[in-house]
Amino acid sequence: MPVDIDIAHVARLARLALDDSELEIYRRQLSQILEHAAKVQSVATDDTAPTAHPLGLTNSFRSDVVQPSLDRDEVLSQAPESQDGYFVVPPALEVDG
């Protein structure tokens, strides 16, 4: 059963700016891969819990002790743009007027 995908919507969710020809290639490939992946639906799992950690570890906390952090200047030196100890990005909100 071919899987129908709204690939433009998925690309928007994934923050990938793709042109129409790329979208078409990925739509076709994903449809093919998902057709294969849909085989998981053939396994009866009604009474089966999902697995997240293979050894079943949960709530692993380290002790609440102050540790040294990364050096701020060293971290910011690797950012595309920074100013006054902050990362700088283009406007994130649209402003009217």
């Binding site: 969710l13 994934a14 990925y26 396994v43 997240a52 950690h53 050894l55 570890l57 692993s60 690797q78």
Partner: protein
């Protein structure tokens, strides 16, 4: 024979005896890299100066009687998805070109503390997504046994470097077979430890519930030594295993007398090369001759493991790779808004396979499809764990081919994602279960290309896994070398 072709254990013995120095050893390895890199491209970065400095410091320690242990002065390589403070780390992606991490990964700290000489950062499929190292943004690595063929992947650079002698051992990461499959295709040993045994702190994440770091080496004992150096509980990785970490050395000499070795029925047949099946069958016969009891086991859900894997791994990848957004590190393509900047940065910075998996994972997690795909795949995973557990009631370890085929030619599977994904059909089930597995070279096909055999063990069962792997190594007596090694 060049010093670059020694095992870690033998090099360590000679260092200890004062027959050679770490600088001798490191220079031999760097010389081998100089000779082979133009053809093989195992490395993305070679830290020549740093390596020679570490080697000299190691020799100084040793001369003062303060050697740090069996890895002190041994040249090793790191897959370039492990953070190294002060040394560029790219995950073979354009989006991280030029990035210099401000910290070391846990495994890098461990190797430095052990005195190992870090030669450089090895090539991989971008963000470890692939089975051939052809998805690197910086060009493919080639197989030292036949340079028209791939080394496997995604840890192809780490496997090829060990095979070619441009490192004595290396670390890789294994999400669906990315250590074991290239180890098999390059004729070296590769280990995926039990999930949680090796801290993922500082490993650039692909699929967090599957990723595990492990060693590649020229012998089972070398792999054991590297593993014992890097494993252990680390509070910085919330999935790190807090229990016991046994010493493994004694297990290697124990032999397989009385052990029950299970042959998995589903790992064979259509799609498996005859030479691969023959080499595995021959080893099984020898194991029986060495006193093991051979039993047949069935893991029916293994046949849909690939499907579950290609939902779970991309889903986790789509979440993990959201952090590469042009804000805190890596490269940026400008845009008028943050969203536009991010979408352009990611479109320009990621290669096609990474985009494909991000889109696949985003779809599998998106509203309305979660239960049918990701949720269902996580349930299949539980089923698979139950079936493996049942198999381990009748067998102490399980064996199979590591890869259905020997190394394939460059370009042969690039345009067909599904056929590439099938490369991992024997290896990825234990990433889903979390169990440990090792690949050991057991022979070659008619063209002289290496064949690997996989030994799988129950979770935390590294002792019995190494016990059987060491016996497989003795019985197979694999001593072929890639043709490039003869040139020196």
């Amino acid at each position: 024979m060049s010093l670059a072709d020694l095992t870690i254990v033998e090099a360590g013995r000679r260092l200890e005896a004062g027959e050679i120095t770490s600088v001798d050893l490191t220079e031999a390895v760097l010389e081998r890299a100089t000779m082979t890199e133009a053809q093989l491209h195992c490395y993305l970065t070679i830290d020549r100066d740093g390596a020679l400095e570490s080697a000299a410091a190691s020799d100084e320690r040793r001369s003062q009687g303060r050697a740090l242990g069996p890895l002190d002065g041994i040249p090793v390589a790191l897959k370039d998805n492990m953070c190294t403070r002060g040394v560029e780390t790219t995950a073979a992606s354009q989006i991280l070109a030029g990035w210099v991490p401000p910290y070391d990964a846990h495994v890098v700290e461990r190797l430095r503390e052990a005195g190992a000489v870090l030669v450089g950062k090895t090539n991989l499929d971008e963000f470890a997504m692939g089975s051939s190292t052809e998805n690197s943004a910086y060009g493919p690595t080639r197989n030292p046994w036949d340079t028209d063929r791939v080394p496997g992947g995604s840890s192809g650079g780490s496997a090829a470097a060990v095979a070619a002698g441009s490192a004595l051992g290396s670390l890789g990461s294994d999400t669906g077979g990315s250590i074991r499959q290239p180890a098999a295709l390059c004729g070296v040993v590769g280990v995926k430890p039990t999930y949680g045994r090796v801290s993922r702190y500082g490993l650039i994440a692909f699929a967090s519930s599957l990723d595990q770091i492990g060693p590649l080496a020229r012998s089972v004992d070398d792999a054991r030594l590297l593993l014992e150096t890097i494993w252990g509980h680390d509070p910085r990785d919330a999935t790190s295993y807090p229990g016991e970490y046994p010493s493994l050395a004694a297990a290697l000499d124990r032999g397989v007398g009385g052990m029950r070795i299970g042959v998995v029925e589903e790992f064979g047949g259509e799609g498996y090369e005859k030479a691969v099946e023959a080499a595995v069958s021959a080893t099984i016969e020898r194991l029986a001759g060495a006193g093991a009891e051979i039993v047949e086991v069935s893991i029916p859900t293994a046949q849909v493991a690939l499907s579950a894997y290609y939902l779970i791994a991309p889903a986790e990848a789509s979440a993990n790779l959201a952090r590469f957004d042009g804000v805190r590190y890596g490269n940026r393509v400008p845009g008028d808004t943050t969203e536009e900047m991010m979408a352009r940065t990611r479109a320009a910075g990621f290669g096609p396979e990474v985009k494909r998996r991000i889109l696949l994972g985003t779809y599998a997690l998106s509203a309305g499809y979660y239960d049918a795909f990701y949720g269902k795949a996580q349930q299949v995973r539980t089923r698979l764990i139950q079936e493996f557990r049942a198999a381990y009631e009748t067998a102490d370890v399980l064996i199979s081919p590591t890869s259905p085929t020997v190394a394939f030619e460059l370009g042969a599977r690039v345009d067909d994602p599904l056929s590439m994904y099938l490369s991992d059909v024997c290896t990825l089930p234990v990433n889903l279960t979390g169990d440990p597995a090792i690949s050991v070279p057991v022979g070659t096909d008619d063209a002289g290309l290496p064949i690997g055999l996989q030994v799988m063990a129950p979770a935390l069962g590294e002792e019995q896994m190494f016990c059987v792997a060491a016996e497989v190594e003795r019985l197979a007596a694999f001593d072929a070398r890639p043709p490039l090694g003869d040139a020196s």
